[in-house]
């Protein structure tokens, strides 16, 4: 389909994935371009979340999951034996469907990754808390409430706190798995604005059920169906002049 592009930070060719006997991904290609938003759309069960979770090997945690094919991150195959999965996940971080802060204070949530890495200096932690919360647009609201429990925040602030927690470990790529599906439209709009802002410094790949969302924020879109990548290209093209009949049916709202 697409030829390998030089500015793709992640590049996938012919990826197969099985959950036991079930084949969830069938020879899927994907290019995630640097400092762009790449959206994966498609009906439930089409494999888009599975594909996203291949990019930081979160599927490794699922019993019976087998992967064949290459996932190149900056030219290195992340599924090659001997690759450091923990380092990979620090560089390719993830925001989940449901806001999932730990039952800790706001501050402790943000510095979680650093605490695990053994960072102790108070000054450095404070700097990172401020920088991360600022980047997630939470600093002004929360700077005086850093020791309050994170679970007391409204959902969209919780989700942005999860973004801040991720930014604190300084990833290069941010994977978002339906990050707005638990949020109302206003909160969704705020997360979308945030994503466009984050795009200036990070590469983003997002799975979404919301086609308008993909059309609004993404630069590239991939339409998946039954484990196959039906169509992939610049978002404007996929939405306005899809080459495949199935994509056309989906984006025009005929089903899905």
């Amino acid at each position: 389909m697409t030829t390998q592009t030089l500015d793709a930070i992640i590049s996938i060719r012919n990826l197969d994935l099985h959950y036991g006997q079930f084949q969830a991904l069938k020879s899927v290609p994907l290019d995630v371009r640097t400092r762009k938003i790449t959206a994966l759309i498609g009906p439930s069960g089409c494999g888009k979340s599975t594909l996203l979770r291949c990019l930081n090997r979160m599927n490794d945690l699922i019993p019976g999951c087998r992967v064949a094919g290459k996932v190149l991150f900056e030219g290195r195959d992340i599924y090659a034996s001997g690759e450091d999965v923990c380092l990979l996940r620090k560089r390719v971080g993830m925001v989940f469907q449901r806001p999932n802060p730990f039952p800790l204070s706001i501050r402790e949530n943000v510095v979680f990754g650093l605490r695990v890495a053994g960072v102790r200096e108070r000054a450095r932690l404070d700097t990172i808390v401020e920088r991360s919360l600022t980047a997630a647009w939470l600093w002004d609201q929360l700077k005086d409430r850093l020791d309050e429990p994170a679970l007391g925040l409204p959902l969209d602030q919780q989700q942005r706190l999860c973004v801040a927690r991720l930014l604190a470990v300084e990833p290069e790529v941010i994977l978002m798995d339906e990050p707005c599906s638990a949020l109302d439209p206003i909160a969704t709009a705020r997360i979308e604005e945030l994503m466009i802002e984050l795009k200036k410094r990070y590469t983003i790949a997002i799975v979404t059920h919301n086609m308008q969302q993909a059309a609004r924020i993404s630069d590239f879109s991939g339409y998946m169906l039954l484990g196959e990548m039906v169509e992939f290209g610049p978002t404007a093209g996929v939405f306005t002049s899809p080459k495949d009949k199935r994509t056309q049916d989906y984006v025009s709202g005929r089903y899905g």
Binding site: L61, N100, F112, L166
Partner: protein, 279 residues
């Protein structure tokens, strides 16, 4: 004949309430009975002097110390083993026939009468390993006795930690061990503490297994190779041999109060830990 729902509801509430009330009454009665009979004997001298004449007079200091040391030793041995096993079974193995068999085995072991553990401890530690009746043999035996309880309660507590927490931790680049230390154990702590409390309570209340393995010496223990007598054993011997019913009830009152104190302190510590973490 079908009871109309309205009456069934009233009847259910009445029966459930009565059951609760009955339980409470029995509990309160026991505590009040033991305390009214025992407390008049309890004073500073009773607590802090050594017994004389087999416990007919004097205090209970060595048994008080034995009651602190023996469960403590058992816990120091059983806690790392038990929690370690629970972490291994839940975090490092996939649920399989083998892990289910291990859990089932632990459940069975938890139900075995303590005298069996006492017999094992007597034959293995006291006789075969030539330890004699001593604190160490008793501590090891009680550790084996409470191990299944600690494993099972810790296992349940660890399984109850939401998987989303683990996922986030992994997604931030933590290893499994870092996830266990920073996410799983802190969140499982309340359940683990419950298991510890059950274990301590069983140790404090134990008589048979203790007499078989730690002996019943009334001397002050100076090392783990000395025989000790716990308050439960002291109470049992005083009452059974008809030595002194006043001192027996006094010991019982101290026992009840110390169990209560241990629970209060443990819950206090736990709540402080939780509120400090979530603050």
């Amino acid at each position: 004949m079908r009871v109309p729902p309205k009456y069934a509801q009233v009847l259910a509430v009445a029966l459930l309430g009565a059951a609760t009330l009955l339980t409470l009454v029995v509990l309160v009665f026991i505590i009040v009975f033991v305390l009214t009979k025992g407390l008049p004997t309890v004073n500073a001298a009773f607590l802090f002097t050594v017994p004389r004449d087999m416990g007919r007079s004097g205090g209970i200091l060595p048994t008080l110390i034995g009651t602190v040391l023996l469960p403590l030793l058992a816990l120091v041995i059983a806690l790392p083993l038990g929690v370690g096993t629970a972490v291994y079974l839940t975090e490092y193995t996939r649920e399989s026939r083998v892990t289910r068999m291990l859990s089932f085995g632990a459940d069975c072991l938890a139900g075995i009468p303590s005298i069996i553990f006492g017999l094992f401890g007597f034959i293995f530690f006291v006789v075969m390993l030539h330890m004699g009746w001593c604190l160490l043999a008793g501590g090891l035996t009680l550790a084996i006795m409470i191990l299944p309880t600690i494993i099972r309660t810790s296992e349940e507590a660890i399984r109850a930690v939401p998987n989303a927490y683990r996922e986030v931790s992994f997604s931030l680049g933590a290893t499994r061990w870092e996830t266990v230390l920073k996410v799983v154990l802190p969140n499982a702590l309340p359940g683990i503490v419950t298991g510890i409390m059950l274990g301590i309570a069983r140790c404090i209340g134990e008589t048979a297994a203790v007499i078989f393995t730690a002996g019943s010496s009334l001397r002050m223990p100076t090392s783990v190779f000395d025989s000790v007598r716990t308050m439960s054993v002291h109470f049992y011997i005083l009452a059974r041999e008809g030595i002194s019913s006043e001192n027996a009830y006094g010991t019982a009152a101290v026992l009840v109060i110390s169990v209560l104190a241990v629970n209060l302190v443990a819950y206090g510590l736990m709540h402080r830990f939780i509120s400090r973490r979530t603050r």
